[in-house]
Symmetry: C2
Subunit: 316 residues, 2 copies
């Protein structure tokens, strides 16, 4: 486990909860807390293009800017910084050579059918000096033959880490073990990463199962903050993994100072409609819409809606 690395995604995945409404103070406290806790990476947001997304409002953690990052983190410490990009939403011209940026790693999220496009971006970022990862989303519904084709391309690429992403929070520890073995067999030359969602309260269990099976990059977020049911909790990983460099206390400090209030203001975690979407292996968007409606606590109604045959045909 000494090769294990935690990537804290509080800002990036948590931003999907609150539209990245994070104060500079919070992001700075989080960086310092993660650094003191010995967490290896902090994913400080998305490096997508405001122009490509027709964004009308500034959103510094969604459209990361190197100059701004250097201002708010004037002193880079042990914890490295990463950014996530989406296919078709990133303008490669926005990505400086690594020596001019304080980012260390660029991660590319893509569906299995777009792996070729993902790998083009990876090649570009790799050539600019970054560590790279390819995060294959919605794995639980990817057809096997697409995965096999994708792996053939991935094997030949310079990508450092390939992620298993349980986007819908529908996998259990034995599914994770199965996926890890498949990825290892088909990508023997790559490090693997894992990103879980907590719909069925399995994010932490799935993450440590992946770790025991040889996965080295573990995604998490403080107090589990992330879209819908949220992620594996950073404080649990830091407590659990027997690595002498990890310290729980600085993470507790961040939770105490910030996360309790944030959890009052915004919602994530084990919430029944998200549990249901996990069980049904569905994207959480229908459940998120339900939680934003006046019927948010009508669980039986929600269950009926998503389990009637028409529901699965409805456009989402």
């Amino acid at each position: 486990m000494k090769h294990t690395k935690i990537i804290d995604c509080t800002i990036r995945d948590g931003g999907l909860v609150n539209n990245w409404d994070f104060s500079v103070e919070f992001v700075q406290d989080l960086y310092n807390g993660l650094n003191d806790a010995g967490v290896e990476y902090m994913e400080i947001g998305y490096k997508n293009s405001a122009k490509l997304l027709n964004a009308t409002e500034p959103n510094p953690w969604r459209f990361l800017d190197d100059q701004f990052l250097k201002e708010i983190i004037p002193e880079k410490k042990f914890t490295k910084l990463s950014a996530l990009v989406d296919i078709g939403r990133v303008d490669p011209n926005d990505v400086l050579p690594r020596e001019e940026s304080i980012l260390d790693m660029i991660r590319v999220a893509c569906y299995v059918r777009e792996v070729d496009k993902g790998l083009e971006l990876i090649q570009m970022f790799h050539d600019r000096g970054y560590e790279t990862s390819l995060n294959i989303m919605a794995l639980s519904s990817a057809p096997e033959h697409q995965l096999i084709e994708a792996f053939e391309m991935v094997k030949e690429s310079p990508v450092d880490v390939v992620y298993i992403v349980d986007s819908f929070g529908s996998l259990d520890p034995s599914d994770i073990e199965h996926q890890v073995k498949k990825f290892q067999a088909m990508l023997p030359n790559k490090q693997l990463g894992i990103h879980n969602h907590n719909n069925m309260q399995l994010a932490f269990a799935n993450t440590i199962t992946a770790m025991r099976n040889g996965v080295t990059f573990l995604d998490s977020s403080v107090y589990g903050m992330g879209r819908a049911a949220g992620n594996c909790n950073t404080e649990l990983l830091v407590s659990y993994i027997p690595k002498t460099t990890y310290e729980l206390k600085p993470v507790l400090g961040v939770i105490e100072k910030h996360m309790l209030d944030m959890r009052q203001k915004w919602e994530w975690g084990y919430i029944i409609p998200y549990m249901i979407s996990g069980v049904l292996n569905e994207h959480p968007r229908v459940a998120m819409a339900h939680r934003s409606s006046p019927d948010r606590d009508k669980f039986v109604e929600f269950y009926d809606k998503v389990t009637t045959p028409e529901a699965s045909l409805a456009p989402v």
Copy 2:
């Protein structure tokens, strides 16, 4: 998994959260909901003795009375009823022969050092016609030689089910697998049960790990309600276990009608001081006291308190 049985402990273990302040309506709705969900057992409380506990207030779910039970559950359905008793707190004279009671199962909780006393009670309840289980608590801190001696006695007893109880919520899936294999090897003639706490968000993962390894009696509670971090969630088991008789919807109905309000009024679940006590393999009582104090959200202070060397010497 067709031999799997769920024992819902909402009233019994949840009562440790709210001093069994459950309305008759709630208990009836829960019984009907669990029955409609196909849950095999409902633990409707403790059958301890008010006299032996010097109780001054009536507490119907802590001191179960057969006559009262028959009044509130006039029609027994599919779901069986169980009660828990503690060594030294139960008066065997209070336990009627099974044919005069609506209880089906009596479970005896004990520490490994008192297994002999537990088995005396088991023999008595077995002779009166009940299904029985022995629930060995605080397993994570039981010395190995005591366990081996205890198993020798258990093997010869008529007890139907022997429980692995993770009282402190400190075990992970691989610990559970190890314990299950040990219990199976030493008690080949007994069915096994599992009772987990959710301090590290592992109660559900640990329960399904136990199930995959052959454990047949699975404890849970609706919305996880149970002491401190609570238990494995009944709604997760009912969703997850591929048994055609299980239905999620009736459990959702109970959560929607009752549990959200109850969770506002009383506290259980993934709460940082309980996470810390799980990680440290400690009884949650110090964390519970902290949560009842004005410093309840001072997590760093709590962590310092329980990790300084003096803390572990303090009387509890």
